[in-house]
Amino acid sequence: MTKENRDKLDIAAYIRGDISAEDEAVFEALIREDTDFAAEVAFQKTLRETLRSDAPPKQDTAFGWARLSKAIDEETPSSALPVPANDRGPRVKVWRYAAIALACVVFGQAYVIGSTHSDDKTDKYFMAGNIEVQSSTILKPANSARLSSITEFLSENNAMITMGPDEDGQYEISFQSLEACEITLKDLGKAGRNFEMTTGCEEK
């Protein structure tokens, strides 16, 4: 096979397994006969495997979707959109947060902990007390906080967003266990990230 003809072969498609059985046979014969070609295929395979071995773990898209969903709702008049039966949307969250607020009052455990620092270079967060469930709390970032900083902060503290943002820009964040929540909240208190923690997680 001439070099020109060989160059027309799509090695990437062969490696992806994206070619017919007939073409695959042509490739395999060529790999046996032509050491140059075999080396090129081997290199491309190695490169693909190396890059793909570095793939980040599958991400949870719930947070990103909640954010996008809110942005879509904000720019589209609700009357113009069909409401899918199984997409509850952000309105459902209103009563949920109302219930949470009520729970906070009843149990007398709600605190609003705010940043008392005024370092403009750092995003500011406010945390409103532990909510009825074992390992959840509400995170309300300041308006100036960047989403990337919020996610970085949560990931550093083994927390994840389970709901939000609601109409007030609040997120519900959860911890793997009550213990994790307690430890994390303690750590946050001394993390020097413009946090002051005066409450912990309590089991209901």
Binding site: D36, A39, F43, L51, G64, S69
Partner: protein, 189 residues
């Protein structure tokens, strides 16, 4: 159960649903493409911490312009090309000087058997060498070998002819192997 592979027809149907305001269809597109997109834009941005914001902006653009998708390319490459333009704008706003390892311009458009085998036998240096590549080289290799994109799709994203993509990939591989050799030669005994 595995998610079925998206086809051109599925893509068209989804996008036409989105164009009339179907949020569930948009959610489907988001869940299918956002994770890959985030990993992709991290390669482009000077500040990778902005990747999540860029994915958000890109997907919002997809929602707004769903009706413009004609199915002439895969939906993935259409979305990625929107992200690419946004990344360029973002990098312009945050422009800074980048320092990459100096790699000579390669005139020859062939890679020898020895060079290929050097790459195979020294796979452990490939990641470090990738990090030293220029942005455009790293990007095309990522699209071709990580995202498994066809040359035609890469051409759409890169806004260049298919022939240019092939040449760029060839030069990127050559530069990569050059850097692998450099890393290997500097390995402490």
């Amino acid at each position: 159960m595995n998610t079925p592979e998206p086809t051109q027809q599925n893509d068209l149907t989804l996008m036409s649903q989105i164009s009339v305001g179907d949020k569930l269809a948009m959610k489907d597109v988001y869940e299918r493409h956002a994770p890959h997109l985030e990993s992709f834009v991290k390669n482009w941005l000077y500040d990778p911490s902005q990747a999540a914001d860029l994915v958000h902006e890109t997907m919002l653009e997809v929602w707004r312009n769903a009706g413009k998708f004609e199915g002439r390319s895969s939906l993935k490459s259409w979305i990625f090309s929107i992200a690419r333009n946004k990344s360029i704008d973002s990098n312009r706003r945050n422009s800074r000087v980048t320092y990459t390892d100096e790699v000579p311009d390669f005139v020859e458009d062939t890679i020898t058997q020895e060079e290929h085998m050097l790459g195979v036998q020294n796979a452990k240096y490939l990641k470090a060498a990738m990090a030293d590549l220029s942005e455009s080289h790293r990007r095309v290799l990522h699209l071709a070998f990580f995202d498994d994109m066809k040359y035609e799709d890469i051409a759409l994203i890169e806004s260049c002819p298919v022939g240019t993509v092939k040449t760029r990939i060839m030069h990127a591989k050559k530069a990569l192997l050059y850097l692998v050799k450099k890393h290997k030669d500097f390995e402490p005994f």
